[in-house]
Amino acid sequence: MEKKKLIRGRPDALNDKIMHYCPGCGHGIVHRIVAEVVDELGIKDRFVGIAPVGCSVFAYWYFNTDFHQAAHGRAPAVASGIKRARPELIVMSYQGDGDLAAIGTAEIVHAANRGENITVIFINNAIYGMTGGQMAPTTLIGQKSTTTPLGRDPRKAGFPIKISEMLAVLPGSRYIERTTVTSPKEVNKTKKAIKKAFELQMKGEGFTMVEVLSPCPTNWRLTPKDALKFVEEKMVEYYPLGVFKDEPVFND
């Protein structure tokens, strides 16, 4: 079959390196969504990403844009600094749940409360992926991990933390949405949410965050297909999808 014209391929904002993520990992999908949105908005030359600590620490290997790497959990603080020094740049911090919801809780809460004009992409896979599948603050009740081999018991390990709901009550947050990537429909919803977050940042409206429920087949000990089912059936039940906040912050 003779190829005539490329309709859709790799986005310009991603380079050609093969990603190090495991087969079926949600990071690759979200990387591509972010890159497609960057291309569509035409902001590749003034886009700065902040890579976290975790599996996505090497996000800077794959993006054709400027990237920075922050200390564990401190990506929102670094993003705030870059945005304040160079307000014309579009700044995204890309963080996992171990980075944002565990060691970096203080940074994300205060960045949101200050109404920093940055976008946070929060990848929630309910486990510590890079270090080998230990319990994260977002691990579901009863979910097995290497540090909770009998399932998470809330009497010993507390309850899974709902970051989006928590940040939505802060007066400084502008736009908070939770999405997932389990089907083409949900992927498109995630893309719409990320695009809206970047557009609000470009208008200078304040802190925006998109939480993406993402599969981790390796550490959940599931096949990629069953991992999608786990997200749809178990995670969405505890972490409902939807927009948690969408209202202007600064009324001047």
Partner: protein, 71 residues
């Protein structure tokens, strides 16, 4: 002019998310191996309608959508 999906076999990691998304069930694992030891997918171009759902789901951007000359 028709649209068809094409896979870059070296990028494919055999996760099969494209197979769960394909409305025409035209994607399957092939029997060959790529350099990383995965069985890359193969796409039945007779059945492919070029919807691009596999591209939406592919974590490794291994699939491209091309306009092709009618056979």
């Amino acid at each position: 002019m028709a649209r068809k999906a094409f896979v870059d076999e070296e990028r494919c990691k055999e996760c099969g998310l494209c197979i769960t998304a394909c409305p025409k069930s035209c994607i399957s694992f092939s029997s060959k191996l790529n350099s990383k030891g995965f069985h890359p997918i193969e796409i039945d171009h007779e059945k492919c309608i070029g919807c691009g759902f596999c591209i939406d789901m592919c974590p490794d951007t291994a699939i491209e959508l091309w306009e092709v000359a009618e056979a």
